[in-house]
Symmetry: C2
Subunit: 466 residues, 2 copies
């Protein structure tokens, strides 16, 4: 279906109009060599001309060598009929994110990336196919903002079984990843100049999202046990308290029950919501999982979960658990954001969980990640001895390494990068600056032992030659 | 010790039963700080469970900080683990959208729904599977906000070939459906109290989205040729002009070239952007294609496209074409909305287009929809004769029916609904009210001839018995 126009008010015969437009498109490369032209019948229908008109235009182009064709096999644009244009169609600005080359030799300790080569492709692919082929055809229509009931039901069972999170499927809203969950919370709870209590340090992007909706952040210092709840301010009304209690990001602490209770009591006193971001607590290497804040105070806790770490960030599947009072408004906001999260993927995931594949995958990956974590620690101790301290490694896909006497300035980080290693400074996630300049975040989820060993060795070498 | 119970008929593991009861008793103060728990051996005997079950339950409570203990000294309830009780969480409030029953006997003339039973399930399912199984494993990682280059490239070729839209792949941002494209445009272009010129009537949801970002709407009356460009206001600065030129929604007109030029000249004079929403122009039954506004004025037109009508709304795949000056900011906004649109679906779609399946599917569906449209018109004329006028049926998946002397009030629409038919009043999409009270929107994309015939007959019966 070539895009052609017919103008009957012109003096130019229709055959000529079609011929000229096709010729131009072939000359300027819009229709490139090998492109199969629509059949004369379908083009004639499309342009509302007689089929003979199209036949004659095609014949002329065939005769002139722009087209080639065989009886029964169709008509194609011939080779060598493209004339390079002098001027570009649009002046185009090259953008960093497209033009940047991925240097495959770089060893990247970026946090939060699962082992991409161990994604359960086959199971997922099979399920995706069967969802597309076998489900009732209503699946392909518009859906409801909160997400498919199949996924919400199986997820509510799963969360109770594995995380002690108690929720009715109606309290769940499936989101296009945890990032969308954060923006929905911001829209739901933040009015201009509202205060939000937040851990410091905390993911830089989360700060940006809340601030972009007008929040002013009240940072609370984090220690090895997470947010220091004894530091909560008095007499200040806050929209909500944002916390990563299972595995503080980036510092890695787990909030003990005493602090959880202090936090809840504070939220009650101040009549504030709690936002609990639980992004990777499935990978806990020491001790059993810790109960969620949501399970302790379901009426004022909003819980954010994601499948980015336990499966793949490419799926963009996350969820919110809401207190009943916020459900209706959140569904509306989701509706006006993107109507709903793609249905076929939701259904694929619900089958993946129902078949037990998710729990098996997590079980398997936990062993892989524990091994990688242990190996990374071993390498760090081997290379740096007592010059390195490791924190926050009980859970998840990253750890914090603190280096005696080394300050990770932009200049140093850039040198390390030039030497083929990417590490991430804690300071890029701090609100009050300067306290963590000798701490870096080392993700190990997507690095095998060879890469970890090379990475740590190269990293040391880079530091020594600074 | 009768204070713990074990129920072997429950699905809940024994460890979890013991853990939960102890935790509850600690949280509610029944077991207070310093209380010494029975030894694991004696509790196990008492409950007639294996000692390991009790050990694991204790371990979990120790890890979470509810208990503390030392080798040989016993296990005690920890300080600060008591949470004052609040009133019970409200038993769950049923929500309309979940509890409402789908009445399958209702014949629903909702617009914009493609034929769901003709979605190319098999091709899509095969491609989805092969994407999951065969693609490089980097596919499963985080991706860039603008979307996969495979999809943007093939889409840029497709748009040039079929719609005369000229764009570099870098000008495309893949969105989670057209709704997200609209919210990105709102974030990109609207500041508080900005004026936006918009067609009247126009999709109610679009009005809501722009208003929720602070826009004040300047409605321009629509006639059978779309937006009446002679009515543009003078001397008022506007953020952008929103227009559905290929197929005005809902009235169905196609903006002629003369008005397109007037619109562009106005936008140039006022230094305003144009937002062109092209949601279903692939299904054009009459008249030659008219050049897109984007093709005529790429420097100030933002073009919105979607796969919801030509494939399925469940995919949530849409896109924006941006002038180079807006690309960077739009990618940032997309990043902070949901990072990016799901990667596997993007890649599946790019293969679907590359293999030629999309164009074949559109070609096939155009015939189906044309037949359905013709049949619907025939039924309307048969039942209502010269009491009905039909508008805006040259393109797309719906038409407008105007009924002589019938006013579609809420009461009448509700009666029609009770009689098993859903039709949609144009008035719900108007800004200036009262001009279209005898017009309704009839979607036919997802209705076969039996349903159309029954629907129109029942609709007439319902009107006669009012």
């Amino acid at each position: 279906m070539a895009w052609l126009t017919i103008d009957r008010s012109l003096q130019i015969p229709l055959i000529r109009q079609i011929y000229k437009q096709l010729r131009t498109k072939i000359l300027n490369g819009e229709l490139s060599a090998g492109y199969r032209l629509p059949s004369t019948r379908s083009l004639a229908e499309d342009l509302e001309v007689s089929r003979n008109v199209v036949l004659e235009a095609y014949d002329q182009l065939l005769a002139e060598g722009y087209l080639e064709g065989q009886q029964g096999a169709g008509t194609f644009v011939a080779e060598g009929a493209y004339l390079k244009k002098k001027d570009k169609i649009a002046t185009f600005i090259k953008d960093d994110s497209t033009s940047k080359k991925n240097n495959n030799n770089i060893i990247d300790f970026r946090s939060g990336i699962p082992a991409l080569d161990l994604f359960p492709r086959k199971q997922w692919g099979q399920l995706a196919k069967s969802v597309s082929i076998e489900t009732d055809h209503s699946l392909f229509g518009y859906d409801s903002p909160e997400g498919r009931i199949e996924l919400r039901s199986v997820l509510s069972d799963y969360l109770l079984r594995t995380r002690g999170v108690e929720c009715h499927p109606d309290q769940l809203v499936i989101t296009t990843g945890a990032t969308q969950a954060l923006t929905l919370i911001a829209k739901l709870l933040i009015s201009l100049n509202d205060k939000v209590i937040i851990e410091d340090p905390i993911t830089h992007e989360i700060q940006t999202i809340f601030q972009s909706y007008g929040a002013s952040l009240l940072p609370i210092r984090v220690d090895k046990n997470g947010m220091d709840t004894s530091q909560f301010p008095h007499g200040i009304k806050t929209a909500f308290i944002f916390v990563t209690p299972s595995h503080q990001f980036p510092m890695g602490g787990t909030l003990p029950i005493q602090r959880r209770i202090q936090l809840i009591e504070y939220a009650r006193k101040m009549d504030s919501y709690i936002v609990e971001d639980d992004y990777d607590s499935e990978f806990r290497y020491e001790g059993p999982p810790v109960s969620s804040l949501q399970g302790l105070e379901p009426e004022r806790t909003i819980y954010i979960g994601t499948f980015s770490k336990i499966l793949s960030p490419a799926l963009r599947l996350g969820y919110l658990i809401l207190p009943p009072t916020l459900i209706k408004r959140c569904r509306e906001l989701k509706h006006f954001s993107d109507l709903h999260t793609p249905s076929l993927e939701q259904l694929t995931l619900s089958l993946f969980i129902r078949e037990g594949f998710l729990e098996k995958h997590i079980f398997r990956m936990k062993k892989v990640y524990r091994k990688r974590r242990d190996f990374l620690k071993e390498q760090l101790y081997n290379e740096f001895g007592d010059k390195v301290k490791i924190h926050g490694d009980s859970t998840g896909l990253h750890l914090i390494a603190e280096f005696d006497g080394i300050h990770f300035t932009d200049i140093l980080l850039s040198k390390i990068h030039d030497d083929g290693i990417k590490v991430y400074p804690v300071e890029s996630h701090t609100i009050n600056k300067g306290l963590y300049s000798n701490h870096i975040i080392l993700g190990f989820g997507n690095l095998d032992e060879v890469k970890i060993a090379n990475g740590v060795a190269k990293f040391k070498k880079s530091l020594l030659t600074k």
